[in-house]
Amino acid sequence: MNEIRQSLATHPFFAGLSERRIDTLAAFAFVRDLPAGEWLARTGADADVFYALIHGRAGIEIHAADRHPLVVATVHSGDVIGWSWFVEPHRWHFDVVALDDLHLLAIDAPRLRAECAVDHELGYHVAGQLTRVLASRLEAARHQLVDVYGLAR
């Protein structure tokens, strides 16, 4: 429990939350170790867990039968994995795979959603932090779209 509180309190995503709210979150957060190669999320599955990475590197992958699996973004220590749990229909949009052995916090997403619905200050914090994640991913996707290192078109 102590490690969970400690990990939550020091993770950038939760920075600025009061001790009381950290305690609330700690009640439904778990510390996990996952070996490299394990799945954290599969496209289309229920997004019922929200990961906060403490150590290691995960890959967001796109997969289809007619192409090689492609890592399109990596997630690193201090990052979080998943916004799908926050947005209906609460299903994963991409695959996420552990690229290294991972040490991470797994948070019960339905419980966190319910907590956000009641405690709007917590909800505002979470929504704001997730928007930062999305903004960064969106910029990256647009730069990838224009093939920033490629020749001018």
């Binding site: 890959g59 960064s136 990256a140 730069h143 990838q144 920033v148």
Partner: protein, 279 residues
């Protein structure tokens, strides 16, 4: 007019005259990027500062600006060239023994003296690592522990200078690699250089940024977000440089003649100009 009376007898240095250099080595870096090693046929050019460029001329084809990616104590210059147009394709297509004409060195250099004793982050995208290689080498020789290098490329096969990346890491510099997409065997990051910069734990006081313009503008802003003063950020800008000496007027960006006042310029001097479309 009296001051002009002496001009007829002034030393007639012709800045447009190429000096012959012979190709002694050609190394394929990626599918369309090659590094040539050139040695002067007779007398060579003046010594090159990190970040400066040469005008490289192929007989009967044309002349293009190419940043110097390394010089050797024995007088060789190394040029890393991407085959894009007619001249660069001809330059990349040269083989050992061929002769090219070089003019220069031209332009400004990375401010290494100002970086001494400060925490420096170097951000390179794609071919942008070439104009930075001499600066990184110099910084690694000085104080590798105060150096971070962020290198971005489209995919892993497009990353330049694998040997150097390893050597810089071994020397104690923090080297972060990122690509736009990868397979699972890739050990670096996938994402933009900007995302890497936003994640960097180490603090910095100064930044050198070189790569595609979109990467530089977004990268420079991310570096500002890390607390570096805009006046301590340097970027390397390019336009069609023809003469190298501020005479042909083609490489203007506002009041900057980039061939002469650049390519290495201070971010706060150009940020607003780069925002203007068609400037």
């Amino acid at each position: 007019m009296d001051s002009l009376a002496d001009l007829g007898t002034m030393p007639a240095v012709e800045p447009m005259e190429p000096t012959p250099y012979r190709v002694t080595h050609s190394r394929r870096e990626t599918v369309d990027v090659t590094t040539l090693t050139l040695v002067p046929v007779a007398a060579g050019l003046a010594s090159v500062l990190p970040g400066q460029y040469l005008m490289v001329w192929a007989f009967g084809v044309g002349e293009i600006p190419i940043s110097v990616s390394r010089t050797l104590p024995t007088g060789e210059v190394l040029l890393t060239v991407r085959a894009v147009g007619a001249t660069s394709t001809a330059v990349v297509g040269t083989t050992v023994g061929d002769v090219l004409g070089l003019r220069g060195p031209f332009g400004t250099a990375w401010p290494l003296a100002a970086a001494a004793g400060r925490d420096l982050v170097v951000v390179a995208g794609g071919l942008g690592l070439a104009p930075l290689r001499m600066a990184i080498d110099a910084q690694v020789a000085q104080d590798p522990t105060r150096l971070s290098v962020v290198v971005g490329a489209r995919e892993q096969p497009q990353l330049l200078y694998a040997d150097d990346l390893q050597r810089w890491t071994a020397a104690g510099a923090r080297v972060h690699l990122t690509v736009d997409a990868a397979g699972r065997s890739w050990h670096g990051a996938v994402g933009t250089t900007t995302a890497v910069l936003e994640r960097l734990a180490e603090r910095h006081e100064m930044a050198f940024v070189c790569g595609p313009e979109l990467m530089m503008t977004s990268g420079a802003r991310a570096v500002v977000g890390c607390g570096v003063q805009p006046s301590d950020i340097w970027v390397s800008l390019e336009r069609n440089m023809h003469c190298g000496i501020g005479h042909c007027g083609r490489c203007q960006l506002g009041s900057q003649l980039l061939c002469r006042d650049g390519a290495v310029v201070r971010w706060d001097h150009v940020e607003r100009l780069l925002e203007v479309r068609g400037r």
